[in-house]
Amino acid sequence: MNRRDFFKIVTTTAAAATAGCRPAAESILPLVVPNEQMVPGVASWFATVCRECPGGCGVIARNRDGRVVKLEGNPDHPVNQGALCARGHAALQGLYHPDRFAGPQRREGSAVAPIGWDDALKIVAEKVTALRQAGKGRAIALVSQLEAGSLGALLDRFTQAVGARPRLALEPFGYEALRAANRVTFGRDAIPYYAFEEAEVLLSFGADFLETWLSSVGHARGFARMHTFRDGRAGTFVHVEPRQSITASSADEWIRNTPGTEGLVALAILKILIEAGAADRKFADAVAQIDVKQAAEASGVPVRQLVQVAEMFGRARPALAIGGGVATSGGNAVATLTAINLLNAATGNVGKTVRFGPDSAFGKVTPYADVAALTQAMANGEIELLLLGPRVNPAFTLPGGLKFADAARKVSLVVSFSSLPDETTALAHVVLPDTHWLESWGDYAPREGVLGLMQPTMNPIRDARPWGTTLLTLTRTVLGTEEGKGPLPWATFEQYVKSAWEPTVGANLEVALQQGGVFKDVAPVAVTAKVAAVDAAPPKLDGDGGFTLLAYPSLRFYDGRSAAASWLQEVPDTMTQAAWDAWVEIPAADAAKLGIARGDVVRVQSSQGAIELPAYPSTTIAPNTIAIPIGHRYAPYHLVPGGLGARESRPYVQAPPTTMNPVALLPAAPDGASGGVPYLAVRASITKTGARRPLAVLQATHDQEEREIAQHVDLKTAREEALRGKERELEPIGMYPPQHYPNYRWGMTVDVDACIGCQACAVACHAENNVPIVGKAQAAYGRQVSWLRVERWAEGTADHPQNMFLPMFCQHCEVAPCEPVCPVFAAYRTDEGLNGQVYNRCVGTRYCGNNCPYHVRRFNWYNFEFPAPLDVQLNPDVTVRQLGVMEKCTMCLQRIIAGKDHARDEKRKVRDGDIMTACQQTCPTQAITFGNLKDDQSAVAKQRHSPRAYHVLEEIGTRPGVTYLKKVVREHAPEKPPAGRGSA
């Protein structure tokens, strides 16, 4: 009986007595024709390619009874090697988004009405035909996202066939400057492969490569291999950025510079290296005019520090310097990146850690300058038909100065192929929804040599058609050709894509689909660097506000295309630990001067416009600089307005009064040298509005207050202990004999040194375990249900603020404080070392929640809802918890049961690696390990006995089943836990 039934009974006992309260009979429908691929109740996996960003990671989708319920990284795919980021997981919520277009839509004025496919296609076809007949094919424009595969080729064929303008591949983060710099230095208009895994020292100039830069999951894998402490070895990572980002937090040395001076820093380092003889002398010309002292002054980085970094960088064989991020997207971006290229070239890294040949697909992005030109053409009335591909949202992602929306209103027919409503579909006259990529055929080549194949992982749940198929139909109608004839003879996109695979895949289609693609190594191409003087002076900024505006892509939402996923909104930003809302990061000193406290709404004004956001004062941002994450959008589900009868559990916040998009503050003009978007372009002023919009900050304090939750050890000690072993500490003393585990004892280890705070594990846990979404108000009030949270603990001194990321979840204590206080045995210890939680036995006294020193037990304060069709995504192997029930991490019990079942089928015991928890599986840096502690040979048991191992709050004596490995801090960090604190 559930609560609703109970309520019915207490209110209408008489009615219940007569009605009989018998559960309604349920129908079960057998298949009409058996499906060979599917056994009801048994999951099948389909490999495809993640299209949430241009990174192109391989994913495998778990299909249960015809519905995809979980995504995982494809272990065979060379880009992500099994890992998947938070956004990748959240793709499922795009698939099952309640607001997905049910079918084609037509907008007249502000009224949007459904329309049939034939009618909708007719409108578009007539327009195309009319324009062609009028000889105005150039008035047709097609904008897609980066389509590095067959679809891109098909789109180009289409534009040629109808005589339209060349297609634009619009990516808000297009790395035009990187290409331009490579053109300058190496004469190649390409983005190379960066071999993080082979670098000994990594020097990053603002590149947020663990968040969004190029291919973050792949980089994280490589970074973990070079940087994580293993057997006494660990690489070093130095990061130069004006604010402490998530990437900066993983750095051994974070150098806070003045925005836009990265090029100067790079050149200064190169100069020091050349003067010290640690770099190729022939590059001396490039740095002839550089004065290290002046550079130090301009950048705010002391000479001493520059020398230290230079020494470290020069000593490493090989090293790797990269540049990117917002700070290197200003007017001097090409110069800055050229300087970094020279640094790499002068220290012999090109060809080793910087490899041209396996070039990135990002090289195929249309520069922003062309997009700006198109917008201008639209504004001039030169465009009469604008076709916008799925996931393209120029109305949101293009700089506010461009006024894309105004330009789009001048176009007589705007057609969008997006499957979800957004700022751009609001401008479209006709929407022809594309199938979600999980429902589609396709392919994607993220870099040379890697061709990921996409196949439908389930049947479309909405009346949507693949974009390619729609265009093929359209072309046939327009050209009046029949199927099989003409320039586009294929009937469907599936046919087209399979014919496109014919030469590469051949007869091995099935194998290739299973593997997720065709992968081969591409040999690096030799390049020579052109030495020329570089003027990397800081860029001139637009406007006269007091603060340099840094608009940076968000780890969770990228350019905003993932913002509709409630998982990503619910999981906080790792740095601020703020969920659901955006904020403006203001230097704490300036905030204090202006009387701004956290949560005060602040008006940020630039020459291009103004936005209002809650403030987040921070001590880890360069002075006179403010930072706002890009991508925070609200896509509220269509909800019934709340009233007394409505549930308070409605988790989704309403749209805020003004936009939160910092891109709206940017000027239209592209960067002259590269044609990219100048994200570092304006100075902004901030004023307090007087309103308050408190942020849902989940972490009360980043100060550990002497708790030693996240621990660290210095590299020297760690090395010594790794080589010589560590003195065994005393076994914990207990009143009772230790527990006996007859078969297995499951346990986990988390390497704090490896964790980069990317939140992938938290989102994977949401997806795997049917963890509900609570919304901003509830999250702000400590009622989140997330089983796993990634905590940020600030350490270090004011000069050297450092962060430690610590994923925290149920510790599965052997002497668990939560268990003996439960009056009904809902919490108990299993004989496999887990803390069981029996939901249907739970009465909801919440005593366990109080007594858990880690506070990882989560309570269902309401019946949190999964608005249809998001409920289809629910994992059928995990109970959906009812109101009034306590829940927590189960170490993915359902996976353990499945693993044991599988082993028993094969009449053997579970082997190490058979079972992976959802968080472990997805971790890009493999910071999480799960396994049988009883097996001495298992990875988890070995790590548990590592000298770095510790338990959180060990002194309480809970004897957790989860062991943490201390973070290894490098030379520059102080020897002892400091007295000073980082940011709060």
């Binding site: 527990q739 002497v815 439960c822 045995f825 919490a827 004897r959």
Partner: protein
């Protein structure tokens, strides 16, 4: 006992007169007495309880209490063994916490048993009012009912009256 007995009731207003009557009656060998008092009176008890054993209620209490202790331990240990679930690393049959349950059940069973003892020994509930009862006895009057052979009635009346009864009947 003769086939028929008669009951003589003396109603007193004072404790000392009641006690005097009782002493007299006992001295004369009348032991079949029923004394009604609005409150328990020590002096009367002293007279009447000289030859009676202490109330057996306490036996009920003892047995009830011990049963409670035993069932407390039995219930907790036996039910814990049903599944043998471990919580907080403590043994399945962990005695210290079970002492609490045993203690509470000791008190509970002891109390209930005392109540049962009281009800049975005091002859409660009484559905019919005994003929010698007078409603003044719960207010401010004391009653002495003497059961005697019919032929002894006058002498009993005499004793009661001379002791100072306000009223003697029949």
């Amino acid at each position: 006992m003769p086939a028929t007995t008669e009951t003589v009731l003396g109603v007193f207003a004072h404790v000392d007169t009641t006690v005097r009557a009782l002493e007299e009656l006992r001295a004369k060998g009348y032991h079949d007495l029923a004394v009604y008092t609005p409150i328990p009176v020590h002096e009367i008890e002293d007279v009447l309880e000289r030859d009676r054993p202490v109330s057996r209620v306490r036996l009920f209490t003892l047995i009830g209490g011990l049963t409670g202790t035993a069932s407390g331990f039995l219930l907790t240990i036996w039910s814990a063994m049903q599944w043998g679930l471990i919580t907080g690393g403590k043994p399945v049959a962990s005695i210290p916490p079970f002492v609490v349950i045993a203690f509470e059940l000791t008190i509970l069973f002891g109390g209930v048993a005392t109540l049962i003892g009281l009800v049975t020994l005091a002859g409660l509930p009484r559905f019919r009012r005994s003929p010698t009862f007078d409603r003044r006895f719960t207010n401010d009057r004391f009653g002495v009912a003497v059961h005697c052979a019919p032929e002894r009635r006058p002498s009993v009346r005499e004793i009661l009256q001379s002791a100072g009864a306000d009223e003697v009947r029949p």
